[in-house]
Symmetry: C2
């Protein structure tokens, strides 16, 4: 890595995304506080446009492109939050976006991506099929790749969520963010280290996709593993840039089980009344299940997103409503 991400990059990202991204609210929940004994501030990226923090990094990247790059548009392989984020960020900049999505993608996500103006290109649902189709789309269109997590512009954009949280709340003892590809956590780390020199920053990762924890422990980035977690946003291996940033500065990673992820998600839905997706619940679970001692402490949590597939739930509900009339 020749370039190094610095605080000023996050600051610049903040000005770039300001006209497009939402400054998301910070919520509190008494029941969460009572459960962990600390004072918890939830940075609600589930309220971000397109439903996740991904919109920040995508917007910062697209806003950084040269006029000639913009003219050719952008592309991204993604079946999830990143696809929607790139689609909307491109639309708001008036440029085309090509989203390479596996042919077995959730139809709701395809509809959402198209709803944001994205041009969906289907690919075979294999790693190779995806790479091949992405390369072809890049070649044929001359579009620029918007990486989902390991581009420094993307990382700088993701760091703006922590910036806003700290700007609003002030001092924190601990800051938690989920880690998958590492874009959110490394951006969070760069912002937090500058703004709050004494804060402890921890990544939160599913036991079933613990490549970041293992990579940091051994000093060698684990790239070959089969993720087993419902936190679909965290199945990606840690990126190279993210790894370097975390290795230099991160305090620790805390692992949570699948059961803890599900229970934390349910707790936040039922008690905080916020829709969060499993990946976000990964950063709440350590507080609820005693994995970190936060008694008397001020804790920030980045709730990364809220894109949940409620299809089966509502199918059952509509059945019930239909049946009762």
């Amino acid at each position: 890595m020749t370039e190094r991400l610095v605080w000023q990059d996050v600051e610049k990202a903040r000005s770039r995304i300001a006209p497009f991204a939402r400054r998301t609210p910070v919520e509190t929940c008494r029941t969460v506080d009572e459960a962990c004994g600390g004072t918890v501030f939830l940075k609600c990226e589930n309220f971000q446009r397109t439903g996740s923090f991904k919109f920040r990094g995508a917007t910062n990247t697209i806003a950084s492109l040269s006029p000639s790059e913009r003219a050719r548009g952008v592309y991204a392989p993604s079946s999830g939050n990143h696809a929607q984020a790139v689609a909307l960020a491109a639309k708001l900049h008036g440029i085309p976006a090509y989203l390479v999505m596996p042919e077995d993608s959730n139809p709701t996500k395809v509809v959402a991506t198209r709803g944001y103006g994205g041009r969906v290109v289907f690919c075979p649902a294999t790693h190779e099929g995806r790479l091949e189709m992405a390369a072809r789309v890049g070649e044929e269109t001359g579009a620029t790749l918007v990486h989902s997590h390991d581009d420094l512009r993307v990382i700088a954009g993701q760091g703006t969520a922590a910036w806003e949280l700290i700007d609003e709340i002030g001092e924190l003892d601990l800051l938690l963010a989920p880690v998958g590809g590492g874009g959110l956590l490394s951006g969070t780390l760069v912002a937090a280290r500058h703004l709050l020199p004494h804060v402890t920053v921890m990544g939160c990762e599913p036991e079933g996709a613990d490549d970041a924890a293992r990579s940091l422990r051994t000093g060698v980035r684990v790239m070959d593993f089969v993720p087993r977690t419902i936190a679909d946003g965290l199945r990606t291996p840690l990126g190279e840039n993210g790894f370097e940033i975390l290795r230099r500065d991160l305090d620790d990673i805390v692992l949570v089980s699948e059961k803890e992820i599900v229970n934390a998600m349910r707790f936040v839905w039922e008690r905080a009344k916020l829709i969060i997706e499993p990946s976000s619940a990964v950063a709440v679970a350590p507080l609820l299940f005693g994995k970190v001692d936060v008694r008397g402490k001020r804790v920030g949590v980045i709730l990364s997103g809220g894109n949940v597939d409620f299809g089966p739930y509502f199918a059952a509900l509509e059945e019930q409503v239909h049946g009762s009339r």
Copy 2:
């Protein structure tokens, strides 16, 4: 009705509940605005303590009791949000609360009510059984009844939500609130009429429980009907006091179908990322499905609560997680 609820009652309620109730946030959602063409402000009583606005009225009532009344405690027949609200409000005042709940109540609600310190007394799951047991509990304990919707102290308490909304947002063209027993809507009306003389206030009611609409149309309160709606908070007949207040001052009632309720709830979950219960969705549906023209207007909506039974959803999810490991 000899007493008449006035603005000053809402003002007094506000001071009384201030140490206990949460000043809930007002949220906005770009997708909701785009769907209706207006600017919509969602007053999030789903974030209120115990998960609904009911906590306001219960707290105002209990805080108004004399020392000797307090000593004997309070009771309330309820299987829903009111039971939890009374239980917590009583606990915070250090007095006992007896909640008369049907023996077939949702176990989650019984657990929640007990979790707030309430003493649950089961009764047969019939109208008569409930009345009989409530009367017995009242006699045996000497406790004071906290009515779920038709006591003027309760109505004044519920009006504080609209007060806060208007205090924060200022001018509104239209204010929407769901109507069941009428406590929330009539309190909202008293507050809004004083603060914003030109605002239009409309009640929102399920077609399957349209007693308020029929009562106001005919001038005779409809009390004998079988509600058919998933909006369980709105199955109660309109109360006497509520009827008088609405008859005097309400602009109109808008009816929504069961399908619209379910679709509005799904829209708010998926796009606004807020957990709301069906009763709240009743006040959002008119905006999403063109029942009122709000293009270019500023619209306030009281999201009444967010207590949803996610049991079946999570049972399926846990099954899935368990199976995948």
